[in-house]
């Protein structure tokens, strides 16, 4: 849920910034000219038919002010907008914590490692097998701070065979055994055949 909120907050921020930039550009261009026609703010307003928009929104706003089903809908819409705002705020303000791979946790303390360098080591180990090029090594820590996790390596080989996959898995064993990781190797043939 937090990931969704964070992604939505980023998308909303991007879209709002684009809208702000466009509005700024339009206002800037509109300020170049003077008068009511051509390149001027009144000219742009006429171009965008803002007078018609004002008329139609005026009717809508009038309907919202009166009692009835539209007022209930608008109240629900307002509540939804507040909920969406809170959701976006959570996505923006919720502290990010780097998920570490826990190697050991006991009364003497914690031994943990960052995911990225572990993934890079996994890629380097996979490439020890001839003709194998590792694209991506990713480590996903176990949930709730438990030791271990999962290691996933995507690689390409000239020929994607079980023997090559087994060879890559053997190369990864020192890392996966040391860290208590379950390994999954996805091997693709250079001709695009899995």
């Amino acid at each position: 849920m937090i990931l969704l909120a964070r992604g939505l907050a980023r998308l909303t921020t991007f879209l709002l910034l684009v809208a702000l930039a466009l509005a700024g550009a339009i206002a800037g261009f509109g300020s170049i000219g003077s008068g009511n026609g051509g390149v001027s703010l009144p000219g742009f307003a006429r171009l965008l038919h803002l007078d018609r928009l004002e008329a139609s929104t005026g009717e809508l706003l009038g309907a919202l002010e009166s009692d009835g089903p539209i007022a209930i809908l608008s109240a629900l819409g307002g509540l939804g907008a507040i909920a969406l705002g809170v959701f976006l705020l959570v996505g923006l303000l919720w502290p990010r914590r780097e998920r570490l791979v826990v190697l050991r946790r006991d009364e003497a303390g914690l031994i943990a490692a960052r995911r990225r360098p572990l993934g890079q080591v996994a890629e380097a180990l996979a490439e020890q097998v001839g003709d194998v090029a590792a694209h991506r090594g990713r480590v996903r820590p176990a949930r709730r701070g438990k030791p271990g996790g999962r290691l996933r390596v995507r690689a390409t080989a000239r020929e994607s065979t079980d023997a090559t996959r087994a060879a890559v898995e053997r190369e990864l064993e020192p890392l996966s055994d040391d860290l208590g990781l379950r390994t999954k190797v996805t091997l693709t043939g250079a001709q695009g055949v899995d």
Partner: protein, 119 residues
């Protein structure tokens, strides 16, 4: 960014607190451990030249909890973490601070390939 393994700057004029001594001892012990390339500073490591890469916090029981952030060689990481914790505990005990030392957390922040200079 990784600190060079160099001895901490001494400040003989000012009496050092247990927190500072433990931080410096932990930094020295970690750097002396085989497999450790350097200490990895955290954002709060400002004006602490002797213990960059070591965070020290006092616990309710009066002991100090340490977090040592390391850049290491590609070795068996769990064993390396154990060796660092043992070295820190031995250094603290040797300086008479064994009873002030709480849990020691070892965070491996970077793994430096052989022959590569830490960034």
């Amino acid at each position: 960014m990784i600190d060079d393994p160099q001895p901490p700057a001494a400040e003989p004029d000012r009496p050092r607190s247990a927190r500072e001594r433990l931080s410096e001892l932990a930094a020295q012990a970690a750097l002396a451990t085989e497999g450790v390339v350097g200490l990895y500073p955290s954002p709060v490591d400002v004006a602490r030249p002797g213990a960059t890469g070591v965070l020290c916090a006092e616990r309710a029981d009066g002991r100090y909890e340490l977090r040592v952030q390391l850049a290491v060689k590609p070795v068996a990481l769990r064993e390396l973490g154990d060796r660092v914790r043992t070295a820190v505990a031995a250094a603290a005990a040797g300086d008479g601070l064994g009873d002030r030392l709480g849990p020691v957390d070892v965070y491996i922040r970077d793994i430096v390939p052989p022959g590569e200079v830490p960034a």
